[in-house]
């Protein structure tokens, strides 16, 4: 049976990426002064699993690197050497190399063999130190370990294997016979070189065409010989036998010989003589089955086999707790559900014209359809939601590397990693967030000496926090660093001829840092000089329908918060009527709706109309004036006021009437038409008409500006 291993590559790649991420998490968590054995074991296991897979699937570069990792880690977890931060650095570097190699095998980018070799040498050096310090391990074991792991001729070329002193080890002669069909002379030469490194090689002239016969006398085990050969020669055409005459008394070898007497020696595997169910015991085993107890088991086994198909299925269901689906499929589903929502709304509208008494069943059916559609929509939308830990998890490494570079001591705290966010947003938020974190570290957190003299702990703290607030998700990057310097920012702004004055509020001053090319850094480091600027950060956030706010206190710290909509595709809205038009107001901006009393409406010169709502005067925005429509009512007290709250400001939206609450599918107006001031998008209503979705925040802000 031939199996194409390529079909397992993808899962191996994904698995290895996960293992690498786990490894990194553990490494970053590792306290060098008192390492947690569990962490060391977990790191070791991750390296080990990657090595196993890489070996199986023939990615020798990865095998080599993980082997070096494993060797050193093994010594660490066995306590043969103390963990040093230098090692953690080397491990992280090795992880990076493996990541690159993985990407290269995936066909994305290329791994640099020079870097790989350097890291390998570093790991080797660190692990050699172990031997210098620790009295226990002997050189031979390590070398022979490498031998057994020499998985291909290619790898052997790169890392010549050193032969240990073998005088005191028992030597066995193996008769090797294989077909050299399809093997070039160069490959054969390499193979011979490898075999010579294992021991003394003797070439026997073969009478049969295309068959090579060799004799190898070595102290290495049969598997080593097999492995040296098996990656070059087709195992089916390979025979390795122990030359019995040559066996120099060695208990284990003889025992193995005996155990395999009844069958030809099997390279790469073996059985323990006398072990339960070892092949030669099979007869005994079956005859033993007559005892009642054993019969019982047979019956159980029979019962099991009858239902084995089913149980296997159940077992595999339990194992696969998640499936990977392409994002296109999910998006297509979301789109279809969006259409379904519209169809359902159309149907509901048509059905509402029928008498609910006569058509009771139709109406209850419609209600149920509405509920089901809503549930379906919610669950489909949740497929796209991912925990923000997906991006938070990359920052420990970013912070660590940068802190080392800048000679700062920083602790990163993450709060609310399980907060879920639309996948599209997750991908887009990563870059701006990285920039903010780097900024906090570079400009915010001070060097330890400065912190101590300011009476702060030497360790700075950067906190990443994510949480839901209303219909939005808020992501905060805060630090306990120097804070923004108002004086400096204003001076810099004047230098750049920006319109500033001393009477500006802090909020307004802080917003200046979002101006293109604005930097108060005295020296431009490669940290802050790289990547996107704050203006790009702000633009990115805005393009996601989000907002960015800064709070800062000089000497105390800075908090930057990003507020994003939960999802980009669906909106809970209130439909309102003005004249013969319908508009959608996003529900999360509405605090209340009311019909005002005429006496509460006041006209203030230069400020337009205001309405008094519970002692508070709010500007009145007349929707018909903004869109130049002919309204059904012109007197404010005859219509309805929808009280909106956005960015800390309130305003009252004057409309003719309220129609109802809908969940609407947002269609971009920009991509279908063009951008319209005061409108954030459009949607298709139940009757097939298009309704515009109001850009509430912009409306409220413009009313504030007028008021000013």
């Amino acid at each position: 049976m031939s199996t194409d291993l390529e079909q397992f590559y993808e899962i191996f790649f994904e698995e290895s990426s996960e293992l690498l991420a786990d490894m990194e998490t553990c490494l970053l968590r590792l306290d060098v002064s008192s390492p947690d054995l569990e962490d060391l074991n977990a790191i070791f296991r991750a390296a080990h699993s990657i090595k196993g897979g890489a070996g199986t699937f023939g990615f020798t570069d990865m095998t080599e690197m993980t082997h070096m990792l494993e060797t050193l880690l093994d010594k660490l977890r066995k306590g043969e050497l103390e963990v040093r931060s230098e090692m953690v650095d080397a491990f992280l570097k090795a992880g990076d190399v493996i990541k690159e190699q993985l990407a290269a095998h995936r066909g994305e980018g290329q791994a640099d063999p020079v870097v790989a070799t350097a890291v390998c040498e570093e790991l080797q050096r660190l692990s050699d130190e172990t031997q210098a310090l620790a009295p226990v391990p002997v050189k031979e074991t390590i070398d022979s370990d490498i031998n057994t792991e020499t998985v291909s001729e290619e790898e052997a070329k790169i890392t010549p294997v050193k032969i240990p002193s073998i005088d005191d080890l028992p030597r066995i002669t193996y008769c090797i016979e294989f077909s050299n069909r399809g093997l070039s002379n160069a490959v054969l030469e390499d193979l011979y070189t490898n075999l010579r490194e294992l021991g003394t090689l003797e070439n026997i002239a073969s009478a049969i065409e295309n068959v090579r016969q060799l004799k190898l006398t070595t102290s290495n085990s049969e598997e080593d010989v097999w492995e040296a050969l098996a990656f070059v020669v087709d195992p089916a055409n390979l025979k390795i036998e122990v030359d019995t005459r040559s066996v120099i008394a060695e208990p284990l070898a003889i025992e193995d010989e005996l155990s395999m007497a009844k069958m030809p020696p099997a390279p790469g595997y073996g059985f323990f003589p006398g072990a339960p169910a070892a092949p030669r015991d099979i007869d005994d085993l079956e005859s033993n089955l007559n005892s009642p107890q054993q019969k019982n088991h047979i019956n159980e086994a029979h019962g099991f086999h009858k239902s084995s198909n089913k149980t296997t299925a159940v077992a595999s269901v339990n194992e696969t707790s998640s499936i990977r689906v392409s994002i296109e499929k999910v998006d297509q589903m979301i789109n279809l559900v969006g259409e379904l929502v519209i169809t359902q709304a159309m149907l509901a509208q048509t059905a509402s014209q029928f008498d609910p008494v006569v058509f009771e069943k139709l109406h209850s059916g419609m209600n149920q359809l509405e509920r089901n559609t809503r549930d379906l929509q919610e669950s489909v939308m949740s497929i796209r939601m991912m925990p923000i830990s997906f991006i938070f998890s990359r920052y420990p490494r970013v912070v660590r590397d940068l802190a080392v570079k800048l000679n700062k001591r920083v602790e990163l705290k993450t709060v609310g990693e399980n907060t879920e966010l639309d996948k599209g947003l997750i991908e887009k938020i990563a870059d701006p967030l990285t920039h903010l974190v780097r900024n906090s570290l570079d400009h915010g957190i001070e060097v330890p000496e400065k912190r101590i003299s300011a009476g702060k702990p030497a360790h700075g703290t950067i906190t990443l926090r994510a949480f839901h607030q209303g219909g939005s998700i808020v992501i905060e990057v805060s630090d306990d660093g120097a804070g923004l310097n108002r004086r400096k920012i204003l001076a810099k702004a004047r230098e750049r001829d920006l319109p500033v004055h001393d009477g500006m509020t802090d909020q307004e001053v802080w917003l200046l840092i979002f101006e293109a090319g604005f930097s108060t850094a005295e020296t431009v480091t490669d940290v802050s000089g790289r990547g996107v600027g704050m203006d790009v950060v702000k633009r990115n956030i805005q393009s996601m329908g989000g907002r960015i706010d800064i709070e800062s206190a000089f000497g105390v710290g800075t908090r930057i918060s990003i507020r994003l909509p939960l999802t980009l595709a669906i909106l809970d809205g209130l439909s309102v009527a003005v004249g013969d038009q319908m508009f959608i107001v996003p529900l999360n901006y509405i605090t209340e709706s009311l019909q005002p009393v005429a006496t509460d409406i006041k006209t203030i010169s230069g400020q337009g109309r205001v309405v008094q709502v519970r002692g508070e005067y709010l500007p009145v925005i007349a929707l018909h004036e903004i869109f130049r429509l002919r309204p059904k009512v012109t007197a404010v007290h005859e219509g309805i006021l929808v009280i909106l709250e956005a960015e800390g400001h309130k305003a009252a939206l004057f409309v003719d009437d309220l129609i109802g609450q809908h969940q609407v599918v947002i269609k971009s107006l920009e991509s279908n038409y063009r951008r319209v001031q005061g409108v954030s998008g459009a949607t298709i209503m139940g009757d097939g008409k298009v309704a515009l979705i109001l850009d509430t925040a912009a409306l409220v802000m413009s009313s504030q500006q007028e008021a000013l």
């Binding site: 049976m1 070996g55 699937f57 057994t148 092949p279 086999h305 296997t312």
Partner: protein, 121 residues
Amino acid sequence: MAKTILAVDDSASIRQMVTFTLKGAGYEVIEAVDGQDALDKANIHKVNLVLTDINMPRIDGLKLLELLRKLTHYKTVPILMLTTESSDEIKAKGRAAGATGWLVKPFDPKRLLEVIGKVIG
């Protein structure tokens, strides 16, 4: 009647490869992600052969071997170690724990079937 094999490995790709290979050869396969999972599944399903990795979280392969051998059904069931550790030390430990034999990783599907065929063929 198909024989059932319990394949224990913490690496999903290896598990998938083993399962695919074995199912292709007509065996039933139950997968377990570590020693503890294997022990639970071995208690529910009385399998005909156990194929286990050595280095795994929670309960490792050697401990699993020991624990399985204490169960009546598994006293006589073949248990093969599937491992990258081909050193004699690991082999000796496996033998002491009651392993039937070993198979060195990396292995190819053909070799896997060959070994299994020898034991429960």
